[in-house]
């Protein structure tokens, strides 16, 4: 029991944000008279926030190094503009256009990463410059006009749903099956890692507790997929987002590179003297941000079915906010991908819920700002208490 309390205290921030998310969901479920968790609205929330969440994943890595990236909104818009020009204006096939767009995103990331990591120009300045440059280039690319609509095949591959191959009538069986399979895979992997830990003689939570954890998680996810199945099934972006979350959780949590990022943000001097090529780590983090900004740009364009000159405005601020609400530290070295996603969802559901209730955009901004401040103030407060 002591141990559990200790574990809880150590991760209080994560749990607190989880609790806050659940509270907000319940609150708006009540305020909106049940509209919030309707199948259609859940699908909406996912599609409205997917690109911010994708950006938040990359932004988390930047924040782990103790910096931010201000350019992601402009880069996303620029990539959208380039992809649209290729596919619509030049009539290039979809797949090569998408690949070239992603590659271009990586190149943009490398460009900024080079100045940041090897020239050591503060990331704030480099990405502020990027924010201006790529917004400008977007306007140049689109000549100030919106390009629309996108080719059918692009539309279909991004802003659509996984088709129901199992042939359900008013229920999408495929969605249920995919989620169930994912839960089983996770349970199986977790069980194996638990066995390994036991073999090494480490402390693990007792089996009933473990089973309870898996069952709760499974129940929540199945309920969620049930709601999706009642609408049109699994949105493609959700599968994309889910994969990215898994991949980046793995990278930050389990790989040497991930550990290097945390070490860099925690104490760069110590990391360097421990044999870490800190410049390379720094560079790769920003190169990766370029890639994810491109992905977000394509997803956003797919959803809008248009490339607009003003796309992506303020995306960077939402992504940064999501990371901070999710427990990332502004001075670097602390934060998780899961936290950033929770932070992003808190903001997204606040937005969506308030819109349904009829709170005007102006007041939504105020509320979001206060939530950000409150979350970080809570963080600072708990840290000060535990330090004493």
């Amino acid at each position: 029991m002591e141990k559990m309390k200790e574990m809880f205290m150590a991760n209080i921030r994560q749990y607190a944000m989880m609790v806050a998310l659940i509270f907000i969901v319940i609150l708006f479920q009540y305020l909106t008279g049940g509209v919030l968790l309707r199948p259609l609205n859940i699908t909406n929330i996912i599609q409205q926030n997917s690109y911010i969440l994708i950006l938040a994943i990359g932004m988390l890595l930047c924040i782990l190094t103790g910096n931010i990236d201000l350019s992601v909104g402009s880069v996303a818009a620029f990539i959208g503009a380039v992809a649209a020009t290729m596919m619509v204006t030049w009539k290039w096939p979809v797949l090569p256009s998408v690949l070239i767009s992603l590659l271009l995103g990586v190149l943009i990331g490398c460009w900024q990463g080079y100045w940041i990591a090897y020239f050591r120009i503060p990331a704030f300045i480099v990405t502020l410059a990027g924010m201006l440059c790529f917004r400008g280039l977007t306007l140049v690319m689109l000549r100030g006009q919106t390009i629309a609509p996108m080719p059918q095949s692009f539309q279909k591959s991004i802003s659509t749903f996984i088709p129901d191959v199992l042939g359900g009538a008013d229920l999408n069986y495929t969605a249920l099956a995919v989620v169930a399979a994912a839960i089983l895979a996770f349970a199986f992997a977790d069980l194996r890692s638990r066995r390994k830990k036991l073999a090494c003689g480490f402390d693990v939570i007792s089996f009933p507790l473990w089973a309870l954890k898996i069952l709760t998680m499974g129940a929540v996810l199945m309920a969620f997929s049930w709601q999706l199945a009642r609408h049109r099934g699994l949105p493609v972006v959700l599968v994309l987002l889910g994969s990215l979350v898994l991949i980046y959780s793995f990278i930050t949590g389990k790989t040497v590179f991930g550990r290097h990022v945390y070490a860099f943000g925690g104490n760069e001097k110590a990391a360097k003297l421990s044999g870490i090529d800190t410049n390379r780590v720094f560079f790769l983090v920003y190169a990766n941000m370029g890639l994810l900004a491109a992905v977000a740009g394509l997803v956003f364009m797919g959803r809008l079915n248009a490339a607009s000159p003003m796309a992506g405005t303020n995306f960077e601020l939402d992504a940064i906010g999501a990371c901070y609400i999710g427990g990332a530290s502004a001075s670097g070295g602390i934060g998780t991908v899961a936290g950033a996603i929770i932070g992003g969802l808190i903001m997204g559901i606040l937005n969506n819920g308030m819109s349904i209730v009829g709170v005007s955009i102006d007041w939504q901004q105020v509320v979001k700002g206060l939530v950000l401040l409150g979350a970080v103030a809570f963080d600072v407060y708990t840290k000060r208490r535990t330090a004493r």
């Binding site: 389990k254 590179f257 070490a263 104490n267 110590a270 003297l273 421990s274 090529d277």
Partner: protein, 514 residues
């Protein structure tokens, strides 16, 4: 007898775990130059920080009488109001402000918040004349050399109507010409009735200018020597500084060093990256054998840390030349990564700023330099192996903690140091460069760290021990190199080595340079 300006009575100051000063009494007469000498860590700076209000009243015991009045200093401002000004070793000038702006910083010549620049500049010019600094008051301080910056500091002190000027190692960073100039200035100021306290390692300077010399050792005053006739010699001061008997504070090592040379450095020369005209390491050569503990001693600023860091993957310095031989073979070590790969480890002198990741737990700190060897598949850390390894080292080194998942920021100094040491033991190096491995930790933890060093040597590792605590180096080393001003100025076998012998090597080389 002259009038007593300052009297500090029974000053005792304790830091968590250490008593820095016990029952220290100091009296300073008006118009004298009073030198305070002692080894690193003897408590000189602590005493001066108390006097100048850096440690406010209440954080120490004892009383201070200035001009016969009891004083309660809550901050530096309080002591400055009385005319006590301290000039620290690290100068506190703002580089992008002019001399005049710096001199009157915090003390601006202003009327209702508006600075009177005419007065600022004319008064600064007057002060600069007084300190014999031939520069315009409008010159930016970043464009001045260290010697001149030191003079600006003194001008700043004079602008506050200083009565007691405290200088902490004023000549440590100066060349001989600048040092000479500064010392003459102190004598001039003395003639004008300004009393000064000077803390210095350069005993030849002390013997020349000080009227009285107080010797501190282990936080207590050993003696106050009267040098009114300039009769006190360096040897006499050294005796007071080090005259402690070395009790058996160091565990015995049973193994002998082998004959195999693990690390040889030849003609190593390094430039200061901040002042490229200045050589920090000048043609240093040394060797370490397997199973040997080699001590590297010298006063602060002798270049020991710079030497070790420049060897460890060029982590310090520019224009590095010279050769490194590892196990007899020449090695190129362009970065710490390569250095670690070739079996080198460097324990930093400042565990908080460049050793530990304080916001991370013990386990992650220990594994940091060995991650690629803790991988199952390439690039993927095997967490079970990592935890097992960290847990093993926790037990072996006796890191006292409820679990290895504690943040290192919450550990005591000794346990933090053991954590960094564990990191390097896990990396399994052949040569360990240990820079101040026992700085700021208590006696018990020190003993444990000595035992670990002995174990490493017994296992055939070569250890270079850099330390400012001479008894420690004497007690632990098979051989000792003495460094001064970027050179190796002496090599002493265990039998020859003594504190006097080391001090003599240093003083001799100082004299040669002078």
């Amino acid at each position: 007898m002259a009038k007593e300006l300052l009297l500090m009575r029974n000053i005792t100051k304790t830091f968590p775990g250490v008593r820095a000063l016990k029952d220290v009494c100091l009296d300073v007469e008006e118009g004298e130059i009073h030198a305070i000498v002692g080894e690193n860590g003897a408590g000189k700076s602590t005493l001066m920080n108390i006097l100048s209000g850096v440690y406010p009243s209440g954080e120490y015991e004892g009383e201070i009488l200035f001009d016969g009045e009891p004083c309660v200093f809550r901050s530096i401002r309080d002591s400055e109001d009385k005319g006590i000004v301290i000039i620290h070793q690290e100068l506190a000038l703002v580089p992008y402000l002019s001399i005049a702006e710096n001199v009157f910083l915090g003390n601006e010549r202003a009327r209702r918040g508006v600075v009177d620049w005419d007065e600022t500049y004319t008064r600064t010019a007057g002060l600069l004349e007084k300190v014999h600094l031939n520069e315009k008051p409008s010159v930016l301080t970043k464009d001045l050399g260290v010697g001149k910056q030191q003079l600006v500091e003194i001008a700043k002190a004079l602008s506050k109507h200083v009565r007691l000027l405290i200088l902490d190692e004023p000549t440590a960073a100066l060349n001989d010409e600048d040092s000479g100039r500064l010392l003459t200035l102190l004598l001039d100021l003395k003639a004008e009735g300004i009393t000064s306290i000077i803390i210095s390692h350069k005993l030849n300077e002390v013997e020349k200018i000080a009227d009285r010399i107080t010797v501190l050792r282990d936080g207590a005053v050993i003696e106050t020597l009267d040098n009114g006739e300039r009769t006190i010699r360096e040897d006499r001061i050294i005796k007071g500084m080090v005259g402690r008997e070395i009790v058996d504070r160091f565990p015995k090592r049973d193994t002998r060093p082998s004959d195999e040379i693990a690390l040889a450095v030849e003609n190593w020369t390094v430039r200061d990256p901040l002042r490229p005209d200045c050589l920090k390491i000048k043609g240093v050569s040394f060797t370490v054998r397997r199973g040997e503990v080699v001590g590297l001693v010298g006063l602060m600023g002798a270049g020991r840390t710079e030497l070790a860091m420049s060897i460890f993957g060029r982590s310090y310095g520019m224009d590095i030349s010279g050769r490194i031989l590892l196990g007899g073979e020449p090695a190129e070590l362009p970065s710490p990564k390569e250095a670690i790969g070739r079996g080198l480890a460097y324990l930093t002198e400042d565990r908080k700023s460049s050793g530990l990741i304080l916001i991370d737990d013990i386990c992650r700190n220990i594994s940091l330099a060995s991650l690629s060897r803790l991988c199952g598949r390439k690039g993927v850390i095997d967490c079970n192996r990592e935890v097992t390894a960290a847990e093993g080292l926790r037990k072996r080194l006796g890191i006292k903690t409820p679990s290895i998942f504690q943040k290192t920021g919450n550990l005591s100094g000794g346990n933090q140091q053991k954590t960094v040491l564990a990191r390097w033991i896990l990396a399994d190096p052949d040569v360990l460069l240990l820079d101040e491995p026992t700085r700021g930790i208590d006696v018990g933890a020190k003993y444990e760290i000595y035992c670990i060093i002995n174990e490493l040597a017994a296992a055939g590792k070569a250890v270079v021990l850099i330390s400012s605590e001479m008894p420690e180096v004497l007690g632990m080393s098979d051989r000792i190199y003495v460094m001064n001003e970027g050179r190796i100025v002496g090599e002493l076998s265990r039998e020859e080595a003594s504190q006097e012998a080391i001090m003599k090597c240093i003083m001799q080389s100082n004299r040669e340079v002078a």
